[in-house]
Assembly symmetry: C2
Homo-oligomer: 248 residues x 2
């Protein structure tokens, strides 16, 4: 490890090209500008198409480029800081620059990993509320919120017809619950077909999967699994004790 042990792993060719392309993006292109097509770029930099494609993929991973079907490859704007570590955005539907919107709701048995967090069994269906998070007209995240019946004891009386009305009723009841804390994890994933549709991405696009366990009354009150676009989002957490800089 360290600079004293420079091992002789050769840098792949596309890696060097990536650096060259990155400099070109800084100096020659504006945000939103469409890049020349792959054939032209490969010719300009004197590389094979496959090498070029690898370099473009790297730059997409790093958020420098966006590739959209029917548009081509464009220079990406800087990633948006998206707060995922505070309570203010949760469970309220509001019209604003950054808001969650309910989509629908079903009752079903959750996946095994969620069941384990909720401590429910395979015979217990839970409320599954689908929400999307939109900022300035752009979809940021698609979420499934899993709520066991015990967390929304007042719901039966209201009993909506399912779908959107039901989703809102579940969230309204859930907001009555006093939360004691929450725990989150972030990991890399690839967009499932349904999430990809809502995020305006192709299935399989890299996403950041944020799992949130909400704790109330000494047990897991709800679990949310949210899929954030990895190309446009930088997720922010924390207690800055002052002015927030990373969220900008």
């Amino acid at each position: 490890m360290g600079t004293s042990q420079l091992e002789s792993v050769p840098e792949p060719k596309y890696w060097h090209l990536k650096t060259v392309l990155s400099d070109a993006l800084d100096s020659e292109f504006a945000v939103g500008e469409i890049l020349p097509n792959e054939r032209e770029l490969a010719a300009r930099f004197g590389v094979a198409r496959a090498t070029l494609r690898q370099a473009l993929e790297q730059l997409e991973l790093e958020g420098r480029l966006q590739r959209r079907r029917g548009v081509g490859t464009t220079v990406a704007p800087p990633r948006v800081g998206v707060a995922v570590g505070d309570y203010t955005h949760t469970w309220t539907e509001a019209a604003g620059d950054d808001a969650w919107a309910c989509v629908d709701s079903v009752e079903a048995v959750p996946p095994a990993a969620v069941m384990r967090l909720l401590d429910t069994d395979p015979d217990t269906p839970v409320h599954q509320v689908r929400r999307t998070r939109v900022s300035q007209g752009q979809p940021l995240a698609a979420e499934l919120l899993y709520v066991p019946p015990a967390s929304v004891p007042g719901l039966a009386a209201l009993d909506g017809p399912g779908g959107l009305a039901r989703a809102r009723a579940v969230l309204r009841e859930l907001s009555r619950l006093k939360l004691e804390g929450r725990e989150q994890s972030v990991e890399l994933g690839s967009a499932r077909a349904d999430d990809a549709r809502e995020l305006d991405r192709l299935p399989g696009a890299p996403v950041l999967v944020v799992t949130t366990r909400y704790v109330g009354e000494h047990r897991t009150a709800a679990v949310a699994v949210a899929t954030y676009r990895a190309d446009t989002c930088r997720l922010t957490f924390g207690d800055p004790g002052g002015v927030e800089l990373l969220a900008g």
Copy 2:
């Protein structure tokens, strides 16, 4: 949006294959087992090599497979929960199951983005301490910690010879500073060559980049940019107010 508007974006062929492969991993393979080579797999599932490769890439993104040069493709163990949202792991070098180790230190002008967070100018070099985080013999993260001279006023008197001794002196002085808070962000990136070497990955491998801004005495005391392996790590944050489940 939602289930009522199922758009007709066809699922790519590799996507279906990915699902089939994923089921096969569950039922036929054990963690650590080496998969048959690409030719055999393509023949078994009746797909082109390119399609197979795309499906394998997806499964790697999702943490189901690991591909290592010289070994082949193996079934990945479940991702490890790695706490990044607490103070206990920082600035102390300890021998343990999960510990940060100093590598070296230089004084240099930081990148523009870090300079902006530190509110330093291009004429002010800062201490750059390189650290690695290792858990059970596996590298989890490579970090560069940027510390402006104002945050370690006692350092001049000690003045180490640079390198590892200097790195430790900077951290020791930094630990005297009272912190008021911190702010973190997570985004997708690709491993730079130097980080890749320390993480035992190829350059360009997907990584999770965690930027931490430490606030002390009403200003940014230090900035850390840590690169976590996205294939093996699930980053955990938060204040569970109870038993931690996501870190398991």
